[in-house]
């Protein structure tokens, strides 16, 4: 079934990314809303099927595999892109919008990809786009974090690439289909590791709380939605029912809340909670029953909305006050009341409070785990639920907006209206889904005999008891949990150690060779060069001056371009490499 009546959402985002630099004057920021609206229209009108197969190498690149699973992820991606673009509309820096467009286009590309090679291409596009969303915060700290982020995702991408190529060699296909856990080969594990890097599976997660708090205010809103959830999608597509994911997911869920409990930086608290919440999804996928897979997908959908809103709320704090450290904030409820209200909608959603959408998705995953008799995993997820409410539901808002300490007295930058609009849309959807679960459940991918019913007296009472009494725990320990200005060591300590070790191993021999080479050059090469130079001078003096002059001018011009390109900044090289890669890709496609 190959049709051509599907507008791939990535096209509009890529087109805007290409066109944006050429717009002048005012009003161009409204164009940011066009690709999201087209994407939403496209997703809600498309019929399932196979669209857009590009002939490439021996196989086709399948750009548009549209089925229930890809539709539900693409739907929330499209809605989130509209929310994110509204929130970012006031930003004058076009580079940020271009990066966001490339990044979102990569996300859609992965979701609709029917083969692993297409997944890989868009995977890397996401990696490049998001790296720039970190760079463009334009502080020294964020540039360093951007490099670490890019290095890490490049390594993760290489695992994926190695896995898919070895798999091609063994099976002769790039097809992206479900892999049964029994009889999995080493290349399947390589692909799984590549996916797990982006899903922030502990201990491969430390890039996330390192980079996300350092991204731009608006960029991190995009990043918190797409990278990890694209990874959840590909895990759901390829690795459902893998036991290792069930355990890893539960570990993530608990690990994230433990770190969030002691963190001071608002957006880092939220970042650790991405690790935790994605843990629920990974666990659901790993357990692999119809209910847990649906729970994982529903939770991904709900999570994108409320986590986007949380990052928008924390972004407002950073935008207005210039800091996101809780020990420097406090008592802001009087001056930023709507930010507090909207933040709380998201905070109660992530905590699984009835009326909000976390209640209908999180409980579904936990109940699914319990019904599959995975009692210990379900217990781990319940423990994480308590920690979530303590950190995101109470600690963060308490120390930012309330608290009985001296309040934040500094200047507050007024928050533009469009940021409120983005947050209001997300907040409205969080509540709508919580109250009418059917508007989310209708899109779940796996057919279930009895759809889970969240709104029962017992579920509401249970949520009330768990959240109410974990709130009481916070009340008793509010002086203990007070955040401190500290850096908490995480696994990135080891990443840096490995990095330093690799540098030492690689650099020492190279430095040694370089030393010897310099000496040899000084002794022999330079003398030879001088002789050649003398010869050239003679040649120049005695003859073809015009030809030599002409050559000299061209060399000078080429040299100028060369010098410009070699700026010494890795971000320029990455961008240049991406452009070159696209050119090569186009050439191969055109000639092949």
């Amino acid at each position: 079934m190959i049709g051509n009546s599907f507008l791939h959402p990535s096209i509009a985002f890529l087109a805007l990314a290409l066109a944006l630099p050429f717009f002048r004057g005012k009003g161009w920021n409204w164009l940011l809303l066009v690709p999201p609206i087209l994407a939403i229209w496209s997703i809600f009108t498309v019929e399932p099927g196979m669209y857009g197969v590009l002939p490439y190498l021996d196989e086709g690149l399948i750009l548009g595999r549209v089925d229930k699973l890809s539709i539900v992820f693409a739907q929330v991606f499209a809605i989130m892109s509209l929310i994110g673009m509204f929130y970012a509309m006031h930003v004058k820096d076009k580079a940020q919008h271009v990066s966001a467009c490339l990044y979102v286009a990569g996300g859609f590309g992965c979701v609709f990809a029917g083969d692993l090679l297409t997944v890989f291409l868009f995977w890397e596009l996401m990696s490049i786009g998001s790296t720039f969303l970190v760079f463009l915060n334009r502080t020294e700290e964020s540039i360093h974090a951007g490099f670490r982020y890019f290095m890490y995702h490049t390594v993760g991408g290489l695992f994926l690439l190695a896995g898919l190529l070895l798999r091609y060699k063994a099976l002769g296909t790039f097809a992206f289909v479900h892999t049964a856990p029994m009889g999995a080969q080493y290349y399947d594990w390589l692909i799984l590791i590549g996916f797990c890097v982006n899903a922030a599976v502990v201990p491969l997660h430390a890039w996330l709380p390192d980079a996300y708090p350092r991204g731009t205010v608006t960029g991190s809103v995009f990043m918190c939605a797409y990278t990890t959830k694209t990874a959840v999608y590909v895990l759901c597509r390829g690795f459902a029912g893998w036991e290792v994911l069930a355990v890893a997911g539960t570990v993530m869920a608990v690990y994230g809340v433990l770190y969030a409990c002691i963190e001071n930086n608002a957006r880092r608290i939220l970042s650790y909670h991405i690790v935790s919440q994605v843990g629920y999804m990974v666990a659901g996928i790993g357990i692999g029953t119809a209910m847990t897979i649906n729970g994982a997908v529903a939770h991904a959908y709900a999570h994108i909305l409320y986590k986007g809103l949380l990052f928008m709320g924390a972004g407002c704090l950073l935008y207005a006050a210039g800091t996101q450290k809780l020990d420097e904030l406090g008592g802001l409820v009087k001056r930023l009341p709507w930010v507090m209200v909207l933040y709380m909608i998201a905070a109660l959603s992530i905590s699984g409070m009835p009326v909000f959408n976390g209640f209908i998705s999180k409980t579904m995953t936990i109940a699914g785990a319990a019904e599959a008799h995975r009692t210990w995993l379900a217990a781990g997820l319940e423990i994480a639920a308590v920690g979530t409410f303590v950190s995101v539901g109470i600690k963060l808002p308490y120390f930012a907006f309330w608290g009985r300490r001296p309040t934040y007295q500094g200047e507050l930058r007024p928050i533009p209206w469009n940021m409120y609009v983005g947050m209001a849309i997300a907040g409205a959807l969080c509540i709508a889904q919580g109250v009418y679960p059917r508007i989310l459940y209708a899109y779940l991918p796996v057919a279930q005999e009895h759809m889970y019913t969240p709104w029962t007296v017992w579920h509401v009472l249970q949520a009330g008891l768990i959240l109410g009494f974990s709130g009481l725990a916070f009340y008793f320990l509010r002086y203990v949990i007070t955040p401190h200005k500290k850096l908490n060591l995480d696994f990135d300590y080891y990443y840096r150690l490995i990095g330093r070790w690799v540098l030492a191993v690689l650099c020492r021999p190279v430095a040694w060779i370089d030393d010897r080479w310099t000496e040899a050059y000084r002794a022999g090469g330079l003398r030879g060069l001088m002789a050649v130079a003398a010869g050239t001078v003679w040649f120049d003096k005695h003859g073809i001056d015009t030809v030599v002059d002409g050559t000299a001018y061209s060399v000078k011009d080429i040299g100028k371009v060369g010098a410009k390109v070699q700026s010494g900044r890795l971000q320029d090289y990455i961008a240049l490499a991406a452009v070159l890669a696209l050119c090569v890709f186009a050439l191969v496609w055109y000639l092949g």
């Binding site: 433990l258 002691i262 009087k334 009494f469 974990s470 725990a473 009340y475």
Partner: protein, 85 residues
């Protein structure tokens, strides 16, 4: 609208004693309801007893915060410029 809401919430903030009473009342109500309503299929065994989830929420919350803040954080906390030095 912004100022109106800000004033209202700030007033509530100063009435924290009343909110504390409300909180304890709500918690008591929840436990009271737990005597009437029980899960159809208890998954964990102990959750068939009244008050299990209340003790679970309180216990996990207390243990998590105390262990992390008092035991784990002193071990893993460094100065903020630790990696930049």
């Amino acid at each position: 609208m912004n100022e109106w809401l800000g004033e209202l919430l700030d007033k509530w903030r100063q009435q924290w004693r009343a909110w504390r009473v409300i909180m304890f009342a709500v918690l008591a109500c929840l436990v009271g309801l737990n005597f009437v309503f029980h899960p159809h299929e208890p998954h964990f065994g102990y959750d068939k007893y009244t008050g299990f989830w209340a003790i679970f929420g309180l216990g996990v919350g207390l243990v998590m915060v105390i262990v992390m803040k008092k035991i784990i954080q002193p071990m893993i906390a460094r100065d903020e410029d630790f990696y930049d030095r």
